[in-house]
């Protein structure tokens, strides 16, 4: 084992493990948040109108929501404990500050979502309709709250505020909890992440409804679901883009290196242009580029001729401030993940727009090609979420807490063998889970709901699980 691992450091194994487990976890989380809200909306529509089509859709998407929720929960447990396992020096350094939102997330959000979801799953017909409806809203609120605390914790890593360094222990200690919870980075990121999560749920619902509309299943029910999903897609695509643009201005001030990496801008420039894509070397030898003039300046500073700092200058500034070393993240990864995220965001906006247009023209059900496209587009928000986080986290390197703690000083001092074992273990388990989960989701999503009489729709099985 040890000869095999010679040359592979605990640090790189721990980074791979964090990347794999976190990306995997966050495939499911936005869908939980988004679909939770949409199912609550569908059930409210049924409660208000008594239209059984909404009831069918609530049950249909509710089932998918629960399958997805389960995997989000179990992979979330790993998230909380791997900080201590692989990043114990990080945990010791930040615990005073980072631990608080995590603990509060458990107390305020996790209890709420799990308890009320239990009531929602098992309570149909056992509690009043009003309480049953309230339970899905409470569960949805729980998911939305939980995102707030974890994004607040992450934002502190991106832009530490409300802290002091205790020189006796070397720990960061909290001096102002309010500052941590109103961090400008947090406010900007939370809106963006939340809008993207609702967008994910909406595109998922739209894509599945489109599949059934194309197959001619339950046109009434899926027609309604598609309409709800379309509205949310359009609104949330706009919010996601607008709030993402807003984040870029924060980023230029707080983490200019990340902004420069997003464009692979090596030298400071005023009125900087934005490249849509590059073929060739990003640094100095681009073979082919499509550039839009001034857009990078607008993105970063909101002005036509604003100055955007370049990687070379920022590296020089950083060495003057923090000492020798490289302060440049992996540029190609930042450059491309940023483009994939933004590009997919635009594509989803177009998807929503076309759906809106087709619905207004009353042609949605007949547009087989669009419906097929909408189903394939289910993948898009998941990719966009993933690349958005890759950009955010990779772009902050070499720091784990920006300007305070480098990633290499955060890792647990432990033999690589341990980390390799858990890395292989988690990767194997997660691969298995992904196969089971996706297989089950597709299976459930393909079976259209049976059209029921009101009496059948009210029937409650004695055993739920």
């Amino acid at each position: 084992m040890n000869t095999f691992l010679a040359g592979i450091s605990t640090l790189s194994l721990a980074r791979w493990q964090f990347a794999i487990t976190t990306i995997f976890h966050f495939l499911f989380v936005p869908l939980t948040i988004g679909l939770g809200l949409l199912v609550a909306i569908l059930q409210t529509a049924f409660y208000r109108t008594g239209d059984l089509a909404y009831d069918r859709m609530t049950k249909f998407f509710g089932k998918l929501f629960l399958v997805n929720f389960a995997i989000g929960v179990v992979t979330g447990i790993v998230q909380e404990f791997q900080f201590g396992m692989d990043w114990s020096r990080y945990s010791t350094f930040v615990g005073n500050i980072f631990g608080a939102p995590l603990a509060i997330e458990g107390l305020l959000a996790f209890f709420m979502e799990s308890t009320f979801l239990g009531i929602w799953i098992f309570g149909r017909g056992r509690v009043s309709k009003r309480v049953h409806l309230a339970s899905i809203w409470m569960a949805s609120l729980g998911t939305i709250l939980s995102a707030a605390f974890i994004i607040a914790a992450n934002s502190w890593m991106q832009h530490p505020v409300g802290y002091a360094i205790d020189h006796a222990t070397g720990q960061a200690v909290m001096t102002n909890f309010w500052a941590v919870m109103t961090n400008s980075t947090f406010i900007a990121a939370y809106g963006h992440v939340l809008a993207a999560a609702f967008l994910t749920g909406a595109v998922f619902m739209l894509g599945i409804a489109a599949y059934h509309l194309r197959k001619g299943h339950d046109l009434v029910g899926f027609g309604k679901a598609a309409r709800v999903a379309m509205v949310v897609t359009v609104i949330m695509a706009i919010f996601t883009m607008f709030l993402g643009d807003n984040q870029a201005k924060e980023m230029e001030v707080q983490q200019p290196m990340k902004m420069a990496a997003a464009e692979a801008l090596y030298n400071t420039q005023s009125g900087a242009s934005f490249s849509l894509l590059t073929i060739g070397n990003l640094k100095d030898n681009a073979v082919f580029q499509v550039r839009v003039p001034h857009i990078l300046s607008v993105l970063a500073t909101n002005t036509w001729d604003g100055k955007v700092k370049g990687i070379n200058q920022l590296q020089k500034e950083a060495t003057a401030k923090y000492g020798a070393g490289s302060y440049v993240p992996v540029i190609w990864l930042c450059y491309w993940s940023f483009r994939i995220m933004v590009g997919l965001g635009f594509l989803l906006f177009i998807l929503g727009g076309v759906a809106l247009w087709l619905i207004r023209k009353r042609r949605l059900e007949q547009s087989a090609r669009f419906l097929r496209f909408a189903t394939w587009m289910i993948a898009a928000p998941f990719l966009a979420n993933t690349f958005g986080w890759i950009f955010t986290e990779v772009g902050r390197q070499p720091w784990v807490v920006y300007g305070l703690l480098s990633t290499s000083k955060a890792v647990t001092l432990i033999s690589p063998g341990y980390v390799a074992t858990s890395l292989i273990g988690f990767t194997a388990i997660y691969t298995l889970l992904a196969i089971i989960e996706i297989g089950l989701m597709i299976r459930i999503a393909k079976v259209p709901p049976a059209i029921e009489t009101p009496a059948e729709a009210e029937r409650v099985p004695e055993l739920i699980y």
């Binding site: 399958v67 929720f69 389960a70 995997i71 929960v73 179990v74 992979t75 979330g76 447990i77 909380e80 404990f81 900080f83 201590g84 396992m85 114990s88 020096r89 945990s91 930040v94 615990g95 005073n96 500050i97 631990g99 608080a100 995590l102 603990a103 509060i104 458990g106 107390l107 996790f110 209890f111 709420m112 799990s114 308890t115 239990g118 009531i119 799953i121 098992f122 309570g123 509690v127 205790d166 006796a168 200690v173 909290m174 001096t175 909890f177 647990t412 432990i414 341990y418 858990s422 273990g425 988690f426 388990i429 889970l433 089971i436 089950l440 099985p461 004695e462 055993l463 739920i464 699980y465």
Partner: protein, 354 residues
Amino acid sequence: MLASLTTSPSGLEQLWFTLIGVLWLGYFFLEGFDFGVGTLMPFVSKDDLDRRVVINTIGPVWDGNEVWLLTAGGATFAAFPLWYATVFSGFYLALFLVLAALIFRGMAFEFRDKREDARWQFWWDQAIFYGSALPALLWGVAFADFIHGVPLAAHATWTGNFFDLVKPYALVGGLSTLSLFMLHGATYLGLKTEGDVRVRARAIAMRLAPVTFVIVLAFLAWTYQTARTMHHEGLVPPLLPIVGLVALAGVGWLVRDHLEGWAFIATALAIVALFTTMLLNLYPNVLVSSVSPHFDLTMVASASHRYTLEVMSWVALIFTPFVLLYQSWTYWIFKKRVGRPGSPKDAPKRKIKV
């Protein structure tokens, strides 16, 4: 400012040690019967319908119960960062096993009934059994290690490996929690089911009770024999463990006399007594070093600063009552016993392929 350098614990640190203790107690009381139910499932069920009855007794609540663990973990991270960091990196592989078990177990509850396929359900049943039994064992091993000592050198540096954690004493600790949780699960099933499952759960409880009593007695005796920090905090005379053992001794009688509610309270009391004994034994340390008493990780040395603890105290004070209220409410909503669907007419239409 430098509260962490003084040696006498402040009230806030004591409060948070207590609160984290309460979170663990809540976790073991609640998920204790979940683990027991999962471990006993193969033994109290004759067919698929029985297994579904068993799973449905904890269906609405297991996830909320598991959040006690997440909150205990989060609270430890916030209030005692060095404890969190040292334990979770030191118990690396053990924790990995617990996490893997909890992953498969949690998925199993939600996924099992989503396909009417005997093989699919068979594998998820395995996940429920092993996913329940393994953590039930490993949590006891871990808590026994906390008080009996782990290879901790200066500055909370871990010097041992996985096998330092699996010593005979810790294994007896693990067997105590496994048998205790199984017994707790059996009394819970006696309380929550009807028909054959209930009869079988009662029979198992009566047979399991004396075995559990012997194991827990052995573990507590060993603890008193060897634990280094046992001399303080009301552990002498050992009133608390005696209360737990008396409760445990009574379980068999209570079950036999159909006092199922009291039997469940007795197993709950035994769990609370056992873990409280261990936590008091630990205090004012959070980890005992097997290398030297000088390297014990103390509550004070691992604590966060006053301000963090104050903020957390306010949040806990305001929100804990709501959590307790709505979580208890769930148990009240689903207080009815779970049984096999009454008549064939009412039974859900599902074919069971074997």
